[in-house]
């Protein structure tokens, strides 16, 4: 019996290591870069027959992110700050920032947590479920389970390319394991950091699993590595 358990556990261990490596590599292409990085994001949403567009400027460094809304005019100047897993919302007319949750809706299908960089390797425990072909490429299909309760999603099924180590598809699952949103990713950008040039995300389409017409497309534009002072991520500095 013991042997049986051992036999079952060993491949999982090996799998878990591979899974973490895959996640780390895929996170880098989604903004999880040690040095500072910044990009613009345009989110186009189609929902219940109406469409809207919002634009953000994102500055990320390590676990922190500073997101500023640039368009439309009525939302200009709104700021979202990510400190580790905590999030705040702020706008110039406010005297104090207010706490928000990564799970809450930002716009359309996009949750607050979707806009900034992802740290799946840090936040989720991963196991490789299987490998399969997606658009002719070999994919590792990972099942990610949240290590903490305050994350954007409880469970994610994540397709990472064996060749490029880039995540190509994500199913965001409810706790019962039922997909409620599906994300498709593209990597048309490149970024050079730490002397290495690597592909960087250019598009994330998030579709409602039930109502396929409700979807949000996040376009990632002009990513670049920049020097960022830690102070911009300090929520107390918002209220000058």
């Amino acid at each position: 019996m013991k042997l049986l358990i051992l036999l079952l556990v060993i491949p999982f261990y090996a799998n878990a290591d591979l899974a973490t490596d895959l996640l780390k590599a895929s996170d880098r292409a989604r903004g999880s870069v040690k040095d500072g990085v910044q990009w613009n994001a345009v989110i186009e949403t189609q929902e219940n027959g109406e469409s809207s567009t919002r634009e953000f400027n994102i500055k990320a460094k390590g676990d922190d992110a500073y997101v500023e809304s640039t368009k439309p005019a009525k939302n200009k100047g709104e700021i979202y700050i990510f400190n580790d897993r905590n999030m705040w919302f702020f706008k110039p007319s406010l005297k104090k920032p207010i706490s928000i949750s990564a799970r809450q809706k930002l716009t359309g299908q996009a949750a607050n947590g979707d806009i900034a960089s992802t740290h799946y390797a840090r936040d989720y425990a991963a196991v490789i479920e299987k490998t399969e072909l997606l658009n002719g490429d070999k994919m590792h299909v990972l099942l990610l389970t949240a290590k903490s309760k305050s994350l954007t999603y409880d469970k994610i099924r994540y397709w990472i390319s064996d060749k490029t180590k880039l995540a190509m598809k994500a199913e965001f699952l409810t706790l019962q394991g039922k997909p409620f949103k599906v994300g498709l990713l593209k990597y048309g950008n490149t970024l050079t950091a730490g002397g290495e040039t690597f592909p960087f995300i250019s598009e994330l389409v998030i579709v409602d699993a039930k109502f396929g017409n409700n979807k949000s497309t996040i376009n990632y534009k002009t990513p670049k590595v920049v020097q960022l002072s830690n102070s911009i991520f300090n929520v107390n500095n918002l209220t000058r």
Partner: protein, 439 residues
């Protein structure tokens, strides 16, 4: 002449007249006090609904807004243009309308920087609110629902449109210090009508009470412009109409409906006590009416049985007397009249005392300032009995009818006996009131 007879007959059996009279009087006082309690409850609910909850006498909503506003808020609000159209119609009613207020509400999070609490934010019209707060009717009927601080500065929201009014309970929940002005500004976060996250600043400094235990931790008030800022809109959810006191409400509503139907958009018009917008009012009054009706029935039954009892005894005792009256030429109808007038006289006299007693009792109870906790209320309120001439009159007429009708039937049924039988009747003793005075 029959009146005189009747009066003398009452005096002949003082003790019985007294106890019957007292019974009528007690029943009268009981019904009167009950009526006074229910009347007060109704007036308090009416005035708080109209003025404190700012429903106005009449609330105008977009058609189906009650069910749909929460689901598709953008479709079920009045745009600036639509507000103008509604106001134009209201202007046609001229002096009937005293003033008009506009409201919009949204659920959101009230945050003091370290902690947040879910609330419903009611945006109100500060000009209308000032007028509502200073209504004499509100102070007369519902002063327990107006906090003293609210009366200190009715201009508060006009002077500082960022002022947020909270309940004492919310102050406790978010540990705000008194005076409220000394606290730092608070933030309110909510979703705009487009579904985007938004937040506004607000300043503490005002307090109110909902009067309801289960709402006291929920409702905050702020001038409507701030809520519109939060929702990123110019629109309003409801328009409330405050009428002059002598305006007939139902007729006004009927006329308003006709005029509103000419508009290019559908509206729903509700009276302030309509169960759809004011379930508390109809629920509370419904319960009181059922109770009141039950007691009315019981007390009336008891009183009429007492009257029947005493009349039956009187008639049995005076069978021979009746015979004599008939023999000397009194018609049967005259005899009936005599007895009916006796009981009419008795009930009028007893109820006259009843009026006095109920007035004195209610005044004494009001002066004693007894405070009690009605179920569901947020604070102790004074137990007030509003003695009212209409109620007294109603109870008076009711008991009067009961007394007259029951005595009429008793006598009618007893007088079917033939004259000769009446004269020969020896089954009972003649009553003799002189016996009362014996040592």
């Amino acid at each position: 002449m029959i009146w005189k007879f009747a009066y003398r007959n009452l005096l002949r059996n003082k003790r019985r007249s007294l106890s019957t009279g007292v019974a009528i009087c007690v029943g009268f006082v009981g019904l009167n006090l009950l009526g006074a309690y229910i009347y007060r409850a109704k007036m308090a609910l009416d005035t708080t609904s109209i003025y404190s909850a700012q429903k106005g006498h009449v609330s105008i909503y977009k058609k189906d807004s009650i069910e749909q506003y929460q689901i598709k808020p953008k479709k079920y609000i009045f745009s600036t243009e639509e507000q103008n159209q509604v106001e134009k119609i209201l202007a046609e009613f001229g002096p009937q309308v005293e003033y008009v207020g506009k409201q919009i509400s949204v659920p959101g999070l009230l945050s003091n920087g370290t902690k947040s609490h879910p609330v419903v934010i009611y945006g109100f019209d500060p000009v209308a609110f000032k007028k509502s707060l200073t209504q004499p009717a509100l102070l007369e009927w519902a002063k327990d629902w107006v906090l003293p601080s609210q009366l200190e500065d009715a201009d508060l929201f006009l002077k500082n449109p960022e002022t947020l009014s909270i309940t004492p309970k919310i102050a406790e929940l978010l540990s705000f210090k008194y005076p409220l002005k000394s606290n730092e500004a608070v933030q309110i976060a909510a979703r705009t009508l487009d579904g985007d996250l938004n937040a506004i600043n607000a300043e503490l400094g005002a307090e109110h009470t909902t009067g309801m235990q289960f709402l006291e931790d929920t409702i905050v008030l702020i001038p409507i412009a701030k809520v519109q800022e939060l929702l990123a809109t110019d629109a309003v959810e409801t328009i409330s109409v405050y009428l002059k006191h002598d305006v007939s409400l139902n007729r006004f509503i009927a006329e308003l409906r006709t005029k509103m139907s000419a508009l290019g958009f559908g509206t729903d018009i509700y009276r302030f006590d309509d169960p759809i917008i004011n379930a508390i009012h109809s629920g509370s009054m419904g319960f009181l009416y059922v109770m009141g009706g039950f007691f009315l029935f019981l007390i009336c039954t008891a009183v009429s049985l007492t009257i029947i009892n005493s009349l039956t005894m009187g008639i049995i005792e005076r069978t021979r007397e009746i015979g004599t009256l008939r023999a000397v030429g009194f018609k049967s109808l005259d005899v009936v009249q005599l007895f009916v007038r006796e009981s009419v006289l008795l009930s009028v006299i007893s109820m006259f005392f009843g009026v006095l007693i109920s007035f004195l009792v209610s005044s004494a109870i009001n002066a004693a300032n007894i405070r009690f906790f009605p179920p569901g209320a947020s604070t102790m309120i004074q137990f007030v009995l509003k003695w009212n001439l209409y109620i007294a009159g109603f109870v008076f007429i009711l008991l009067f009818i009961i007394a007259t009708v029951s005595s009429y039937f008793v006598i009618k049924s007893k007088l079917r006996t033939k004259l000769i039988a009446l004269l020969n009747d020896t089954s009972t003793f003649d009553d003799d009131s002189e016996e009362e005075e014996s040592p």
